[in-house]
C-alpha cells in the first residue's frame, strides 16, 4: 500500500479504542468529537496533499527499504536533499493549515531511532535495529500516523530520574519479562497523541548508570491496556463546541496540534517493539538526534503559518484602510523578514546535514538549535506586529452570535465596518484568524514545542567550538605561542 488518503486515516482512528479524557469526560470517538476534529483535519491533509499533483513532489518519496512510493512522513532521510524537502513540505503544509499538523514528531522519532538503534547494535551486539527496521516497514506500508513521546513530567528538576521522590516522574521499566517489558510513568505535551495510532516513547534526557531503567525506547499502540490520554485545554477551545465557526478563527484546522498528557500505567510492550532497554549511554544521542530533527522543522512549518499570519494582517490593513500607510508597510516587511530569516535557518541546517553510521542523514545540530531558538523570539515578534496592526478590536470584538442577532447584528455590521466596499464580516473573520494565531496557546507552542529555549542554549553551548574561537582571537592578538590554524 504505502500511501493512504485522509479519509482512510480518519477511519483508522475509528478502528482503535484509545482511553481519552477531555473536560472530565471519557471520549467515545476521537474522530467524531468537535474538540479533536480540527487537529484530525490538519493531520489528514498530510495524507491528501501527498496525492495532489501540486504537492506530490514534496510530500512523497521512495522508501530506501522497499523502493516503493511512500508518504514523506514515514521516510528516513538519506541525503541533504531529503532534509531540504522536509522543510519545504512543512512550509507548504503550514500554508494550507495555518496550524500544526502534528505528524512531524513521529517522523522525527523514526529518523532518530533508526540511527541510534544501529549505533547500539554496533557497540553491544544487540538486535534493536533489525526490530526497528521491521517496525518501520509496517509504518511505511500502512502510512501510519505515530506520535513521538519524549518529554517526561520531570518532577524535581534538580534531581536525576533515579533520585526522584516519585520514581514515575520519568517513564521507566518496572518489569522485564521473557516476551517484553512493563513500563510506567507519563509523557507530557504530546502533540497529536489522541489522534495518532501509537506512540514512539523515547528518553527525555541524558542518563547515568543509576538511571538505566529510564533508558527505554519503544512503540506503544494508542489503545494498549494501561495507556491513558488526558487532552490539554487550549485558549478559547470551548468555541469549538459552541456551534460558532467564525469565532474559532480557523475552524477547519484549529490553532495548535492538540497536546495530551499520556499516562503509562504499567503498560506491557512486546519485545519486538522495544528499541532501547537499559542502554543509558545512548540516551543523550537519541535525545540530541530527535531534538535536532524536530528543531530543524520549525523554520518550515512555522514559516508556513507566518505566511498565513502576514497575509491575514495585510488583508486586515486593507480592510481597515491602513495598508498604504508607510509604517504599516514597514511592519509588514518586518514580518516577512522575520519569517524568511527562520526559513533561511531551516534550509541552512538541512544543507549542512550529514550522514550517520546507519546511512541516514541528520541536520546540522548547531544550526538546527539556532533555528528553533530564533523561533522562540521571532514568532512572538511577528505576533506583536500583527496585533499592533490589527488594533484593539482583536481583543474586544463581539461574538459572531451577536453579529447574527436580529436586534443588535445591524450595529455590529455598521460599527465594525472599515472601508466602504468590504463588509464587517470580512474584517471579523480576519481578526478572529489573527486572534487564534497570536493569542494564547499558539504562541506558547512556539516557545516550548521541540524543547524550551534553554534546551537549545544547552545544545548550542555543547556544539560551539569554544576553544577554537579562543585560539583564533589569541592568534590575531599575538597572545602566547602562535597556534597554526590555517
Amino acid at each position: 500500500m504505502g500511501m493512504i488518503h485522509g479519509d482512510d486515516y480518519r477511519e483508522s482512528l475509528r478502528r482503535v479504542k484509545p482511553e481519552v479524557y477531555y473536560m472530565g469526560e471519557k471520549i467515545d470517538s476521537v474522530a467524531d468529537h468537535p474538540a479533536f476534529i480540527p487537529h484530525i483535519n490538519a493531520a489528514a491533509l498530510t495524507y491528501d496533499m501527498a496525492w495532489a499533483p501540486e504537492f506530490e513532489e514534496l510530500l512523497t518519496t521512495e522508501s530506501h527499504l522497499t523502493g516503493e512510493k511512500i508518504n514523506l512522513f514515514t521516510h528516513v532521510h538519506h541525503s541533504t536533499n531529503d532534509l531540504v524537502q522536509k522543510v519545504k513540505a512543512l512550509r507548504a503544509l503550514g500554508q494550507q493549515t495555518g496550524s500544526c499538523f502534528a505528524r512531524c514528531v513521529g517522523h522525527d522519532a523514526l529518523n532518530a531511532i533508526y540511527s541510534v538503534t544501529y549505533d547500539m547494535d554496533q557497540k553491544n551486539g544487540t538486535e534493536y535495529h533489525k526490530s526497528f527496521v521491521n517496525f518501520l516497514k509496517e509504518v511505511q506500508k500502512e502510512d501510519r500516523f505515530i506520535s513521538g513521546a519524549m518529554t517526561d513530567p520531570k518532577g524535581d528538576r534538580s534531581l536525576p530520574p533515579s533520585q526522584q521522590a516519585d520514581a514515575d516522574q520519568y517513564v521507566h521499566v518496572v518489569e522485564r519479562k521473557k516476551d517484553g517489558i512493563v513500563i510506567r510513568g507519563a509523557k507530557a505535551h504530546i502533540t497529536g497523541a489522541v489522534n495518532a495510532l501509537g506512540h514512539l516513547v523515547m528518553p527525555t534526557t541524558s542518563l547515568k548508570e543509576a538511571d538505566a531503567d529510564y533508558a527505554v525506547c519503544c512503540y506503544v499502540p494508542v489503545d494498549a491496556p494501561g495507556l491513558v490520554h488526558i487532552f490539554g485545554r487550549q485558549t478559547n477551545d470551548d468555541r469549538k463546541c459552541s456551534g460558532c465557526l467564525m469565532d474559532q478563527g480557523n475552524p477547519e484546522y484549529g490553532i495548535v496540534g492538540g497536546e495530551a498528557l499520556v499516562v503509562f500505567d504499567d503498560v506491557f510492550v512486546p519485545r519486538e517493539q522495544v528499541f532501547m532497554c537499559g542502554e543509558y549511554d545512548f540516551a543523550f544521542e537519541l535525545v540530541e538526534r530527535f531534538a535536532t530533527a524536530h528543531r530543524q522543522n520549525y523554520g518550515g512549518c512555522k514559516v508556513g503559518l507566518a505566511d498565513v499570519l502576514t497575509g491575514a494582517t495585510y488583508a486586515l490593513a486593507e480592510v481597515q484602510g491602513t495598508a498604504t500607510a508607510s509604517h504599516i508597510r514597514d511592519k509588514l516587511v518586518e514580518m516577512v523578514h522575520l519569517a524568511e530569516t527562520l526559513y533561511c535557518c531551516s534550509i541552512a541546517c538541512s544543507c549542512q546535514g550529514y550522514a550517520l553510521p546507519a546511512g541516514n542523514f541528520m541536520a546540522d545540530p548547531l544550526l538546527a538549535n539556532v533555528t528553533k531558538l530564533n523561533v522562540t523570539r521571532y514568532i512572538y515578534e511577528m505576533a506583536r506586529i500583527a496585533q499592533d496592526i490589527a488594533g484593539g478590536l482583536l481583543a474586544t470584538m463581539p461574538s459572531e452570535l451577536d453579529w447574527g442577532n436580529t436586534k443588535v447584528g445591524k450595529y455590529v455590521d455598521k460599527y465594525l465596518k472599515g472601508v466602504t466596499d468590504v463588509p464587517a464580516e470580512t474584517r471579523m473573520r480576519l481578526l478572529r484568524l489573527i486572534e487564534g494565531m497570536t493569542c494564547g496557546t499558539a504562541l506558547a507552542e512556539s516557545m516550548h514545542g521541540a524543547g524550551s529555549p534553554q534546551a537549545q542554549r544547552i545544545m548550542i553551548m555543547r556544539r560551539s567550538n569554544w576553544e577554537r574561537k579562543k585560539r583564533l582571537a589569541q592568534k590575531l592578538a599575538k597572545i602566547g605561542e602562535q597556534p597554526k590554524l590555517v
Binding site: P53, E54, F55, E56, L58, L59, K88, R91, A92, Q95
Partner: protein
C-alpha cells in the same frame, strides 16, 4: 502528441501555480492533436514542468528522462525566458505546438 504536467511541489510559489497549471492543462486538452496524459505514463512527448519560482525544484533528471521534450515554467519564466504570469498558459501551449509541428 502526448503531453504530461509535473509540479515542483509548491512549497512557496511566486505565481498562482495551481491556477496556472489547471489553465495549462485545460488549454492543452482543448488543443487539437494534443493528448494530456498522466505524468507516469509512457511514452511522453512533452513534459511541462511547473515550478513556482526560479529555483525550479521540479526540473530534475529523473523527470526529464520521462519525456522526449521538456518545458520548464519557473515562476514568471519559461525555459529561462521571462514571461508574465498572465501569458504563461498561451506561451506553453504555443511551445508544445511547436514541438508538434517540428515533428510533422
Amino acid at each position: 502528441m502526448k503531453v504530461a504536467v509535473k509540479y515542483c511541489g509548491s512549497c512557496n510559489p511566486e505565481i498562482a501555480l495551481s491556477d496556472v497549471g489547471h489553465k495549462i492543462e485545460r488549454a492543452l486538452q482543448e488543443a487539437p492533436g494534443i493528448n494530456v496524459v498522466s505524468r507516469r505514463s509512457k511514452p511522453i512527448d512533452v513534459m511541462v514542468i511547473l515550478c513556482g519560482c526560479p529555483r525550479a525544484c521540479g526540473d530534475k533528471k529523473r523527470i526529464r528522462k520521462r519525456a522526449v521534450h521538456c518545458i520548464v515554467v519557473a515562476g514568471e519564466t519559461i525555459d529561462l525566458v521571462p514571461v508574465a504570469e498572465k501569458d504563461l498558459t498561451a506561451r506553453v501551449v504555443q511551445k508544445v505546438k511547436s514541438f508538434s509541428s517540428a515533428e510533422n
